[in-house]
């Protein structure tokens, strides 16, 4: 009997990261409290090594384990996004945890395991791998959400996230079971081959499986109508975890959704693009409208993250190459911007006094001009103002929708971005045009970790806004990285 064609190259980043997580557990067991100060930097080192290993495999396109995993450029881009989210969140975490007596080494190990889940979601080409990746992403996140116990809000958030997450997983499992029943395989390429057959296409099992898979991932990426958990979970979770979750869970979920839809189901693209258009419209409208009336910044960012899931869905629904490129670029831009916004919140918070009330940001510019300026950059990018990463992402996905002829969706997307300007810019107006109402912002926690994270986030947001804006003709070339991604993806 022949051994399966295991090829560990295809798993390099995931292997490094999961071993690093185990290493952190062992370091904690062996050295205990003596090295606590260094743990967050050790974690960042692990993420950097993983990112470097992924980038070193650019254009290599390694396939392994009988096609279960494939490390193509698409997977590498998603890996890089996960690394950015992970590094920024870890940098923001350490002092936040120490300040609130929550510092436990497991935190960092769980975070690395969760990021490993994203890597598996990015490179899995078999529904088994994608399911495992999703669970590896989610299960540590349930724990991390409840990490601030005995804070009741954190416990409540963890409970809600867990129950709805487990529900989503069961939908996904059943959807995969039906797909397997219809096509006889869980390998995405074999599913595509099976779908050449008209009988398989028209089978109820195929349609049911597709719908349930969409529902399962819809929960994870917080698409309306599967978004109910998002505001409560975002509000209750420790802020660095909220920051990581808003980007990490989305990146993983969308990466898997993209690969499943584009690799396994291109034959029935008319089914799922229609469903995605409806999801995208609902997500854009509900997310943006509900964000307006929020008075808590965390909840506002929660609804804003729902809305941004809508813009990424626009890219997916377009069903063309530019849509994929746009979704990836959007995630990259969103990683810098959103983690930056949460970073400002963390810098302004201290134990028992979270900088959560939007009103309290009034007059921040006079007390903390630099933080107010950084927050303005992030808000402008979330709105999609020129010279920020957010605008480039939006132009990408909008032009993809135009190319696909989805005019209704495009009009809804543009109108809702105009609406979004209202609530993002309200914060900017508050910071610059009003007088402070209390002593908010007189004390800040600008530790080295937080400083580094904020600097990286600002630089990322601005650079991504300027470089592609000047150098790249959107209609023809898009980003060099993304075109290669697509070539790799379709094969």
């Amino acid at each position: 009997m022949n051994l399966p064609d295991y090829n560990f190259t295809a798993l390099t980043p995931a292997l490094i990261l999961s071993l690093w997580a185990i290493l952190i557990l062992l370091v904690d067991l062996l050295f205990g409290e003596r090295i606590q100060r260094w743990l967050s930097w050790l974690t960042v080192a692990g993420l950097l090594v993983t990112g470097a290993s992924a980038l070193s495999l650019w254009n290599v396109r390694a396939e392994g384990f009988s096609g279960m995993v494939v490390l193509d450029n698409f997977a590498i881009v998603v890996t890089v996004i996960a690394m950015i989210a992970g590094i920024l969140a870890v940098l923001l975490s350490s002092d936040y945890l120490v300040d609130r007596d929550l510092f436990r080494p497991e935190y960092f190990a769980l975070m690395l395991f969760s990021i490993t889940g994203i890597l598996l979601l990015a490179s899995g080409r078999n529904l088994i791998m994608l399911f495992l990746g999703l669970e590896l992403l989610s299960i540590p996140l349930y724990v991390l959400t409840g990490f601030a116990r005995p804070d009741v809000q954190s416990e409540e958030a963890a409970m809600k996230y867990f129950l709805l997450g487990a529900l989503a997983s069961s939908f996904l499992v059943y959807g995969i079971a039906l797909t397997y029943g219809a096509t006889g395989s869980t390998d995405l390429l074999k599913i595509r081959d099976a779908l050449q057959n008209v009988q398989v296409i028209t089978s109820t099992l195929t349609l049911g499986g597709l719908i349930l898979i969409l529902v399962g991932f819809g929960f994870k990426v917080a698409a309306v109508p599967f978004h109910m958990w998002t505001p409560d979970v975002y509000q209750g979770a420790p802020t660095p975890i909220t920051a990581y979750m808003s980007v990490g869970a989305k990146a993983g979920g969308f990466a898997a959704l993209l690969r499943i839809m584009y690799v396994a189901f291109p034959q029935i693209a008319s089914y799922w693009t229609g469903a995605l258009v409806l999801l995208a419209i609902a997500t854009l409208v509900v997310g943006n409208l509900l964000a307006i009336q929020q008075s808590s910044l965390k909840r506002l960012l929660a609804y804003s993250s729902i809305a941004h899931a809508g813009y990424i869905l626009v890219g997916l629904a377009a069903g063309n190459n530019r849509g994929v490129a746009g979704a990836l670029f959007y995630l990259l831009a969103y990683a810098f911007t959103n983690l930056g916004a949460f970073g400002i919140m963390i810098a302004l918070s201290k134990k028992g006094e979270e900088a959560d009330s939007i009103e309290s940001y009034a007059g921040l510019s006079s007390r903390q001009p630099w933080l107010a300026l950084a927050m303005t950059v992030f808000m402008l990018s979330l709105t999609g103002v020129p010279l920020t990463a957010g605008l480039v992402g939006k132009i990408f996905v909008f032009s993809a929708a135009a190319e696909a002829g989805l005019w209704t969706l495009l009009i809804v997307a543009v109108l809702t971005s105009v609406i979004s300007a209202f609530y993002y810019l309200r914060l900017v107006v508050l910071m610059y045009m009003r007088d402070p109402i209390n002593d908010f912002g007189t004390q800040v926690h600008l530790t080295p970790g937080v400083r580094t994270a904020l600097a990286l986030a600002v630089i990322g947001t601005v650079l991504l806004g300027i470089i592609p804006g000047n150098l790249i003709d959107f209609t023809n070339q898009t980003l060099a990285i993304t075109t290669q991604t697509l070539v790799a993806l379709v094969h």
């Binding site: 009997m1 051994l3 185990i22 557990l25 062992l26 067991l29």
Partner: protein, 118 residues
């Protein structure tokens, strides 16, 4: 086809019959002298000291969950055990790595004191 099930049917009838007959015989011909001690839940044991449905320490739950977690991982030994000769040395190394990772988990549980009862 169905004939092969006949012995099972006979066994079933015999077993049920024996149990029924024993109980019925005991009910009809056995002597009965009820008193309070005889009617207590454990006739020769200690007197119950509280309701059976009370809460018990969360330690039990911890042990049970740890058991389930390690127990369910054994499932992955079965496919390996079925073809371990064909997999040869590679399979052995792989399963050793798997066990090693489980051991790290075990060491973690132990060191963190999840196995201490007090």
């Amino acid at each position: 086809m169905l004939q092969s099930y006949v012995p099972i049917l006979i066994l079933l009838v015999l077993a049920t019959g024996f149990a029924l007959i024993s109980i019925l015989l005991a009910t009809f011909i056995g002597p009965r002298h009820p008193n309070t001690r005889k009617l207590s839940p454990y006739e020769s044991g200690m007197t119950p000291i509280g309701p059976a449905m009370r809460r018990y320490p969360v330690r039990f739950y911890l042990v049970a969950v740890l058991f389930i977690l390690f127990d369910i991982e054994i499932i992955f030994f079965f496919p390996w055990a079925l073809i371990f000769r064909q997999l040869g040395f590679f399979g052995l190394v792989e399963i050793m790595v798997f066990i090693l990772i489980l051991l790290v988990g075990y060491a973690y549980v132990w060191k963190k004191g999840a196995l201490d009862w007090e």
